[in-house]
Subunit: 339 residues, 4 copies
C-alpha cells in the first residue's frame, strides 16, 4: 500500500492570520505541509519561514517558478486578494482565500470570470463559521424541518474592542460580512436587502465609531435577519444566533465549559476572542480544504460565487450605514459553473 | 392597638380577568376583600359572587348607591373602560384599571382631564410586568449604572396560540402594548417612534394574521428596542428581554426550575401561559395597590398618564403595521399633576 | 352570602422566626390574623405586638384564658416546644409547629401519645421544603414513574456561615434535619440508617466545627441518599438535590432569574439565605395550614409522626458524627391515628 | 531549513480502540504516521492496514525485526498489555498504553521494574481525561488556590448501557478506574482507601449487575471523593465532577452546544458516548505524546507509576464491592526514576 504524500501548500501573507494558518497547517492539519511562504516584507517572511520545510518568496510568481507549492492559502489584506488570486488561478492552483473574496463586487466579478476559464471552481473562501459545530447543528435543524420552517434569525456579534485602524464602514465589511455569508447559508436563501438602525451610541466606543448598530437583512425567501453589531463591549467576545421556527426556536453560541459558584453567583467563562470561539472551525475548514484538494474536488466550502454575493451585500450595507430604509440589490445570474 | 379593616373592593367585569382578580383578592391578597361585583351579565355576576361577602350589581352606579365599595378594579374589555372610569372618578374612587387605559389616545386624554379635577392621581394601570421580580432586577441594574449606560433592548414575546377573536391590529394593541409600557420604564425614556418589519410569515398561523412581526421602537434617549412578536409558536409562552449595556448585557425571562436529563437531552420546562409566568407579578401588583389605597397614596404603579402614552404608541404601532419606515409621534405636555 | 371570619392565630415565640411568621400572617396570608403573641420576654412581645389587632401574653395559658386564639404557631426554640405543645393540645388547638417537633425522640413519643387523645392529628410541622415548587415538581416526577423508579438522591445543603451558637451536633439537628424529612417524603420510604463521612476539613470553618460532612442515609426501600452538609461556604446559600432514576435524572435548586454577561463571564445570582430561597414555600405552608384549620382538616403537611421519625434520625445522625459505619434504627409502630 | 520527518508509530491491537487510534493518527495528528499494525487476527489486521503507508504484523517482534516502527500505541485488551509492554521496553520503544497499565498490581510492579532499567520513563498511559479541556480548567482552578483549598470531589459517571461481556467487577476495573487516575490528579494526592455503597438496584440493568454503586474514595490529603457509577441509564452518557472548595464550587461535564425550545421545554443535547464527550481529549493526548516522542521527553501524561497506583486502587475497589467499610491500601515507595 502506498502513502499519498502531503499536500504542499503556499501561504500568501505572513501577518497575524497568515501566521495562524502556517501554525495550523504545520501542527494540526494532517495531510498538508507549508512548503512556501509568500510575503514581500522580509522580516515577516523570515519569522514565518520557521515552519519546518518551508521556503520564503517575495511573490507568488517566484514561488510558482520554483515549483514550490501545489495549492495556496491567501491571508493578505483584502485589497491585495485580487493580485494573488489572478496568478494563482492562471497557474490552476486551488485556493483557500480568507474573507472577503475582494473588497468590492466589481473586482469579485472579474475574479469569477477568470475562475470560469478553468474546468471547475478552484477558490474556497474562509468563512469558517460554516465549519463551526454549532452552526452546523443549526443548519441541520433547518434542513430537517424538525421545528417547521425557519422564519427569523436573530444574531449578535460582539467584540470586546477593535484596533485603531477599524473604521465605521468596517462594521459592515470586516464584521457583518460574516453574517452576509452564514445567514443565507443557514436559511438557504440569498440576501435581498440590507438596512441599518442605530441604537443609542456607546460613548465608550472610539470617537470615530457610531455603534452599536442593528443590521436588518431580508432574504429572498422572506426570512428576516437582524444582527446586533457591537465592537466595544469589553466584557467578552460573543457570536450567537437565535433561529425562530414555526414550532420552536434554537440558539447557538452560548458559553459553556467550567461552571463556577462563587461570591453568590453562578458563572461560566465567556470567550474573549474569535481565536478560541472558532478555533475548531478554523481547523476543520483547513482540513476540509486540504482533503478536497488531495481528492481533486478542490473546494469543500464557500466558493468564489459566495464571495461575490457577500461583496454585493457589503456594498449595500455600507450604503445603509448612512441611507434610511432598506437598500435592495440584485446579483448577476449565477453561472452553471457554480451550480 | 386597633386593626385597620380590610379595604372593600369592587371588581368591574367578571370575565376571565375579572374572575382572576376576584380569586386573587379573596385568597392571596391581605388587607382587602371583594365587596362588590359589577357585571351586567347576570350569569357571570352570580358565578363570581361566590366570593364570600360580595354582592353583585348591574352597574357601578348601583354599587355606589349601595355604598358597596371603597375602590374599584376595572377588568372589563378595554372599549368599556371609559364608561366605568368616568363614574368611578366622579365618585373619587381609587382605581386599578386593567391595560389599556382606553383603546385610543383621544379617550385617554378625556380620562386624564377628568382625573385632574381630583386632588391627585387615582388611577393605577394593570401593566403587571413592572411588578415582576426579573423586570425589577433589570430596572435596578439600569438605574445602578453598574454595567454602564443602556444602549439597546431586545425583546421576545411569544404565545403558543391566540383565540379566534384576535386580529392583526391586536398584535399591537393587545400584545406589544406591554412593551410600550415596560420598555420605556426600563430605559427611563418615552417612545419616539414605532416601525414594523415582517419576517417570513408563519403559515401555521391563523390565515387572518401576518406574523411574526418585528417591532422597532426608538426611545427619546436614543435607546433602540426591537421586539419579536409571535403568537403561534405552539411550543410555549415566552416573554424575555436582553438588555445591551456599554460593558455587559443582561437577560431576563429564561426558564428555570426543575431540570431533567432524559432521552439524551437536558431540559427545563418552559411556561405555556402568562398565568404562570406572571403569577407573582399579578399578586404583587394588586397587593401594592391595596396597600397604596389603604395608606392614602392611591397609586403604586403605572398611572393614567402612562396609559395615555401607551395609547399613543399603539396608534403609531397599528399604522406601522401597514406603513413603511418609523411612525413618529409626540405626546401632549405632561401636567404637573402627574409629575 | 356570608363571609367566613379570619382565623385568629396565636404565635408562640417572638424571636426571628416568630417575627417572620407574624409578618407573614399579617401581610401575606389571607384568611388569618395574628390575634395573640405568646412571649415571656416583655421587650420582644411589645415589639411583635405591633401586628394590628394582636395582644401580647406571657404564657399560652394566659392567652387561652382570654380566649385570644383559635390556633397556634409555635416558633420558640426547640427545647421549649413540648412546653407549649402540651397546653395547646390539651385545649384542642390546631398547631403549626416549627421544626423539630422536639429535640429528642422520647419527648416526641410523649407528644404523640397526648395528641392521640384527640379525635385526629392536630399538629402540622414546619418542614417547609414540602411546599417548595421545585421539591413538589420533583415529588410529582417520582410519583408519575415517568423516569422509572427512583434509585439515588444526591443532596447539597450549603450555608454561607453559621452563628457562634452553632455546634457540631447542630450539623445534624439543625441542618440535616430537613433532609431527614424531605428525602423520605420524596422517595416515599422512611430512613433505615445514617452514616457520616468526613471530607477534608474546611480550615476557614469555626474552630469548633469539623465540616463539611457527607451524610449517607439509607431508606427502607433501598434508595440511598447522600447529602453534603457544608456551613462555611461563604459564596452563597444552596439547597439542591439531584434525583437519579432508572431512565433519567432530575435536578432542583439551581439558581435562575436575571442572567448577566460581564467581565468575560456569564453569571446568575445565587441565593445567600434561606429566607429568599424558600420565601414562597414559607408562605404556601402557612396558607395551606390556615386553610386546613378553617375547613376542619387541621393538618395539610408533615404531622407529629413525621416529627418523631425525624427526631429518631437526628439521634442516629448525631451518633454517626463520631461512630464509624451506618447507625441503624427502627421506629415504634405507626398508630392508625396517623395513617 | 529541514523538516523533522513524521514519527513512525506502530499500533498494537486493531479492535475498536486500536482502529480509532489508527484513524486519529492518520487523519488528525500532525507529525506522526501509522507505520505498523500489530494484530494476530488476520482479518482485523487487513482492515486496519487500510491506513496509508502501514504494514500489518502478527507480533511486535516481527514488526521490530522489520524496523517498522519507532514508537508503539498499545490498544489490546488489558490482559495482553504486559505481553506487548515487555518486548517494547526491551527494544527501548516509547509507549502510549491504553488504560489500565495492567489488570493487577503485581503485573504492574513487574512492568515498573523493567521500565526502570531504561534511562527514563518510556510509558505514557491512556487516561485521556487529563487532556480534556474542562478537567484541565478544573485542575488549574485547584492549583491557583483561587477558591481556597479543595475539600470534596463529587463525580458522576453514567453510561447508557454496557455490552454483554461487562461484569460486576468491571464497574471498578473498566469504569471507576478513570476516577482512580483523574481524581488524585485533580486533588494532587493519591488514593488511601476505597469503599462501595449500594443505592437501590436498577432493575432495568442486566441481571448479573448490582448497580448503580456509589464509590467513596479517601485521598491521603483528606479530600473525600464520591462517584456515582451507573451503567444502565439509557438517557445519555455523562461524566461530570463537582469540586467543593473552601469558598466556592466548580462543575465540569455539563452539556452545552445547540439549545432548543420546543414542546414547552428548553433543552440541550447530552452526549450518548465517550467518543464524542472525549473526542478532543483523545486527539490532544495522542498529539502530546507524538510531540514528546519527537522531542525526546517520551512521556507527556500519566506514566507507568500512575498505572500501578490505579491497579492498586482497582484491587481495593473490587474488594469493596463485597466487603463493608473502607478498604485501605498502601503503595510501594515511589522510585526516584518516576519523580
Amino acid at each position: 500500500m502506498t502513502t499519498t504524500p502531503d499536500l504542499r501548500v503556499g501561504v500568501g501573507g505572513a501577518g497575524q492570520m497568515g501566521a495562524d494558518h502556517i501554525q495550523r497547517i504545520t501542527r494540526v492539519i494532517s495531510g498538508a505541509t507549508v512548503s512556501a511562504i509568500v510575503e514581500p516584507d522580509a522580516g515577516r517572511a523570515a519569522a514565518a519561514a520557521a515552519a519546518p520545510g518551508s521556503r520564503a518568496f517575495a511573490s507568488l510568481d517566484d514561488a510558482l517558478d520554483a515549483s514550490a507549492l501545489e495549492a495556496v492559502v491567501i491571508a493578505t489584506p483584502g485589497q491585495f486578494h485580487e493580485l494573488v488570486l489572478v496568478p494563482a488561478l492562471a497557474a490552476g492552483l486551488p485556493v483557500l482565500c480568507e474573507k472577503p473574496l475582494t473588497p468590492d463586487s466589481a473586482e469579485a466579478l472579474r475574479v469569477l470570470e477568470l475562475e470560469q476559464t478553468l474546468d471547475r471552481p478552484h477558490i474556497q473562501l474562509g468563512f469558517m463559521r460554516r465549519f463551526d459545530d454549532e452552526y452546523r447543528a443549526l443548519r441541520e435543524l433547518v434542513v430537517s424541518g424538525d421545528a417547521g420552517e425557519l422564519l427569523f434569525l436573530r444574531g449578535v456579534h460582539r467584540n470586546p474592542s477593535v484596533p485603531e485602524s477599524y473604521t465605521q464602514s468596517m462594521l459592515i465589511t470586516d464584521s457583518v460580512v460574516h453574517e452576509f455569508d452564514v445567514m443565507p447559508w443557514l436559511a438557504g436563501s440569498p440576501v435581498a436587502s440590507v438596512e441599518v438602525k442605530y441604537p443609542r451610541r456607546n460613548d465608550r466606543a472610539p470617537e470615530r465609531l457610531r455603534e452599536p448598530i442593528l443590521v436588518l437583512i431580508e432574504l429572498r425567501n422572506g426570512v428576516l435577519v437582524d444582527v446586533e453589531m457591537n465592537v466595544s463591549v469589553r466584557f467578552g467576545y460573543q457570536v450567537a444566533t437565535e433561529a425562530v421556527f414555526q414550532t420552536g426556536t434554537a440558539r447557538i453560541g452560548q458559553p459553556a465549559g467550567l461552571q463556577r459558584w462563587s461570591d453568590a453567583r453562578f458563572s461560566i467563562a465567556e470567550h474573549t476572542s474569535f481565536t478560541t470561539r472558532f478555533a475548531r472551525a478554523y481547523d476543520a475548514q483547513v482540513q476540509a480544504w486540504v482533503d478536497a484538494v488531495r481528492d481533486g474536488s478542490l473546494v469543500a466550502g464557500p466558493n468564489a460565487w459566495d464571495g461575490y454575493l457577500v461583496a454585493l451585500a457589503c456594498e449595500a450595507g455600507v450604503r445603509a450605514l448612512s441611507e434610511p430604509g432598506p437598500i435592495a440589490f440584485a446579483p448577476a445570474e449565477r453561472p452553471a459553473f457554480y451550480a
